[in-house]
C-alpha cells in the first residue's frame, strides 16, 4: 500500500513536471533555445487564471483562459523577442549565450511586471475537487481526487499534443521545422509561423502546469521557479529532443523524488534531483530515450 501510494503521489507531481518539461522541449526543438522565461510565462498565465477564479470562482473557466493566455504570451515572446534575437545574433561566440541571457532577462521582466500588477504577497485559490486523500477501508492515502485530476488533465494535454504532432498537417510542419528548418522551408513550410505556434503550444502547456500546481502550493511572482528547474531536469532526463521523452522524464523524476522522500530522506530529495541530472548526463548523455551520442558533437 505504501509502495502503491508513493507511486501515485509521484505520478501526480511528475505529471506537472512533465508538462513543464514538455514546454521546454517544444521550444528547444523549434528554436534551439532553452527558455528560462518559461517559468515567467507560466506565472503570468497562472495569475491571469487566478484573476478569473477570484472574479468568477470558477476553476473550469480559469484553466482554459490561462491556457489561451499562456499560448498568446508564448507567441508574443517569439514574435517580439526571439525572432529579433535570431535575426541579430546569428553567429559568433555570443550566439549560444545570448538566448540564455535574453530569456533570463525576460524571466526577470515578467516577474517584475507580475509583482507590479499583483504585488509580492502570497495568493491562493482552492482546488476544484477535494484534496482529501482517497480512503480504502481505514487507510487514507495522500493521493486525492485533485491529484487524480492533475494526472488526467496532464494526460489529456499530452494526448492532444501527441495527436496534433503525429496525425495532423500542422504537426508534420512542426516536426519538419524543428528537425530541419531549412529543408522544411524549401518544401514550403512557413517555418517562422510554425515556430511561433510551437512557442504558443509551449506557453499553453506551461500555463496548465502553473494552474494545476498552485492549489497545492501558493502563488507569488517566484512560486514557479522550482517547477522550472525540475521541469528542466525532467526534460534532460528525457533527452531534450523528444516530447515523449519529456513526458516520461518528468514522471520518472516525480516518482523518483517521491520514493527518495518516502524511503531515503526527506531532506535529500531536493539535492538528489541535481545528482540524478548529473548522473544521467554523465552515464547516458542522450537521455533515457535519446539516441547514442546525441549530446556530443
Amino acid at each position: 500500500m505504501r509502495l502503491f501510494s508513493t507511486l501515485l503521489i509521484g505520478l501526480s507531481s511528475g505529471a506537472i513536471y512533465s508538462l513543464m518539461a514538455l514546454a521546454l522541449v517544444l521550444v528547444w526543438r523549434s528554436t534551439r533555445v532553452v527558455n528560462f522565461a518559461q517559468a515567467g510565462q507560466a506565472i503570468a498565465s497562472t495569475y491571469i487564471g487566478y484573476l478569473v477564479i477570484s472574479r468568477t470562482d470558477n476553476y473550469w473557466l480559469a484553466l482554459p483562459v490561462a491556457l489561451v493566455a499562456g499560448a498568446l504570451i508564448g507567441a508574443l515572446v517569439d514574435v517580439a523577442l526571439i525572432r529579433t534575437l535570431n535575426k541579430r545574433v546569428k553567429s559568433g561566440p555570443a550566439a549560444e549565450m545570448a538566448p540564455v541571457i535574453v530569456t533570463l532577462g525576460l524571466l526577470g521582466l515578467i516577474r517584475s511586471t507580475v509583482g507590479m500588477i499583483w504585488g509580492g504577497d502570497l495568493k491562493a485559490y482552492k482546488a476544484p475537487v477535494t484534496n482529501h486523500g482517497f480512503t480504502f477501508g481505514t487507510t487514507t492515502i495522500p493521493f486525492s481526487p485533485y491529484n487524480l485530476l492533475i494526472v488526467i488533465t496532464a494526460v489529456i494535454v499530452m494526448a492532444v499534443f501527441s495527436i496534433i504532432f503525429q496525425k495532423t498537417n500542422l504537426g508534420l510542419s512542426l516536426r519538419a521545422a524543428a528537425f530541419q528548418p531549412e529543408i522544411a522551408r524549401l518544401a514550403g513550410v512557413r517555418v517562422d509561423l510554425v515556430r511561433t505556434i510551437g512557442w504558443a503550444f509551449a506557453g499553453g502547456a506551461g500555463a496548465v502546469a502553473g494552474v494545476l500546481v498552485t492549489p497545492s502550493n501558493s502563488l507569488s511572482p517566484n512560486s514557479l521557479d522550482l517547477l522550472l528547474v525540475l521541469g528542466f531536469v525532467g526534460a534532460v532526463i528525457g533527452g531534450l529532443e523528444s516530447l515523449l521523452g519529456a513526458a516520461i522524464g518528468g514522471v520518472v523524476l516525480g516518482i523518483g523524488l517521491a520514493f527518495i522522500l518516502e524511503y531515503v530522506s526527506t531532506s535529500l530529495a531536493f539535492p538528489s534531483a541535481f545528482i540524478v541530472l548529473i548522473l544521467v548526463l554523465l552515464i547516458k548523455p542522450s537521455g533515457i530515450l535519446g539516441k547514442k551520442g546525441g549530446r556530443g558533437a
Partner: protein, 324 residues
C-alpha cells in the same frame, strides 16, 4: 611578440597606478564598488577564457566561486595562512575540482553542458548546508583584518579590500591575457572555430577542453575568494543562481572573446542596479511598483543590450589588446 608583451605589462602598470590613485580621490562607496568591480572582472575573465576561447558554456561558475570562497576561508581560519596564500589555495582547489568537472563537461555540448553546470549552481550551495564544518546557512566569518598600519591611519577598510582585489584582478588578468595569446589560447580558438581541422592538425580536443575548464575554474575560485573577502563572510546564499547568470551576462556584454571588454561588462553589472534604483526613484509610484521597478529596468536593460550589441560594445576593441 616580445615587444607587445612588454607594452602590455606597461599598460597594466599604468592601469594599476591609475586605480590606486583613483582610490584616494573618490568616496568610500565608489571604493567599495571598485572592489566589487574587481571581483566581477576576474569572474568574467574566467568565462571569457572558457566560452570565448574554448567554446564551452557554463551557467555554474557561481558554484565554482563558492568552492574558491569556502577554500580560502577554511584555509585562512584553520591554518591561519595569509591572504595571498589563502587566495592561492582557493585557485588551486577550485582548479582541481574544475578539472574533474571539465573532464565530465568535455563530453557534453551546448544545452547539456549548460544544464549540468546549471544543476551545479543550484545544487552545490544547497549541499553546503549539509556540512557543519562549512557553517551552514549562517556561514563562516572571514576576517582579513585591518589594513597594515604602515599605510597610514586614514587608510580605510574598503580601500584595503579594493587594493587587494584590484591587485589580484590585475595580476590574474595579466596572466590570463598571456595564456590566451600563448599556444593554448591559439589552440582553443582553432578548436572553437574549426574543431575538425583543429583535431586534424594534432590538437587533442578533449584534453584541451579540460585544460580550459581547469584554468577557468581556478580563476573563478579566485573571484569567489575575493567576493567573500569583501563580504567578510562565506555562506551558501552569497552564491545564488543569479550570480552565475550575472557573470555570464557580464561576459556577453563585454563581447565574449574580449578580456579587456570584461572591464566594461563588470562596470555594467555594478552600475545597472544603481541606474535602475535611480530611475525607479525618479518614477516613484505605489509600493508594489517601486519594489519591482529596479528589477524590471535591470531586465529590460539586459535584453535591449544583448539585442542591440550581441557581440559586446565596439568600444571594447579600443580598450584591449587585439585578441582575435
Amino acid at each position: 611578440m616580445h615587444k607587445s608583451r612588454s607594452i602590455r605589462l606597461l599598460v597594466f602598470i599604468v592601469i594599476a597606478l591609475a586605480a590606486f590613485f583613483l582610490s584616494n580621490v573618490v568616496d568610500e562607496l565608489r571604493v567599495f564598488q571598485g572592489a566589487s568591480l574587481s571581483v566581477y572582472i576576474v569572474a568574467i575573465a574566467s568565462i571569457v577564457l572558457l566560452t570565448g576561447y574554448s567554446g564551452q558554456i557554463s551557467l555554474g561558475h557561481g558554484a565554482l566561486m563558492a568552492i574558491g570562497g569556502y577554500s580560502a576561508v577554511l584555509a585562512h581560519n584553520h591554518w591561519k595562512v595569509s591572504i595571498p596564500i589563502s587566495f592561492a589555495i582557493a585557485i588551486v582547489s577550485t582548479a582541481f575540482f574544475g578539472s574533474i568537472l571539465g573532464w565530465a563537461a568535455a563530453r557534453l555540448k551546448g544545452p547539456y553542458l549548460a544544464g549540468t553546470t546549471l544543476a551545479l549552481a543550484v545544487g552545490l550551495p544547497s549541499l553546503a548546508n549539509q556540512f557543519s564544518v562549512l557553517g551552514g546557512e549562517q556561514g563562516l566569518a572571514f576576517d582579513v583584518g585591518a589594513p597594515p598600519k604602515s599605510l597610514g591611519s586614514d587608510f580605510t577598510q574598503y580601500k584595503w579590500y579594493f587594493w587587494i582585489c584590484a591587485l589580484a584582478a590585475l595580476i590574474i588578468v595579466w596572466i590570463t591575457q598571456n595564456i590566451l595569446t600563448s599556444r593554448y589560447g591559439r589552440q582553443w580558438r582553432a578548436m572553437r572555430s574549426a574543431p575538425i581541422s583543429a583535431s586534424l592538425s594534432g590538437i587533442h580536443i578533449g584534453r584541451s577542453k579540460v585544460l580550459a575548464f581547469t584554468i577557468s575554474s581556478g580563476i573563478a575560485g579566485l573571484a569567489g575568494a575575493m567576493l567573500v573577502m569583501t563580504l567578510n563572510l562565506v555562506t551558501p546564499s552569497a552564491f545564488p543562481l543569479s550570480l552565475s547568470f550575472a557573470i555570464v551576462t557580464g561576459a556577453v556584454l563585454a563581447g565574449v572573446t574580449n578580456l579587456g571588454g570584461g572591464v566594461i561588462g563588470a562596470l555594467v553589472l555594478v552600475a545597472i542596479p544603481d541606474i535602475a534604483d535611480l530611475l525607479a526613484g525618479k518614477m516613484g509610484g505605489a509600493e508594489k511598483i517601486s519594489a519591482n521597478l529596479p528589477g524590471f529596468i535591470t531586465s529590460l536593460i539586459l535584453i535591449v543590450t544583448v539585442l542591440l550589441l550581441p557581440n559586446g560594445p565596439k568600444l571594447s576593441k579600443l580598450v584591449s589588446h587585439k585578441t582575435k
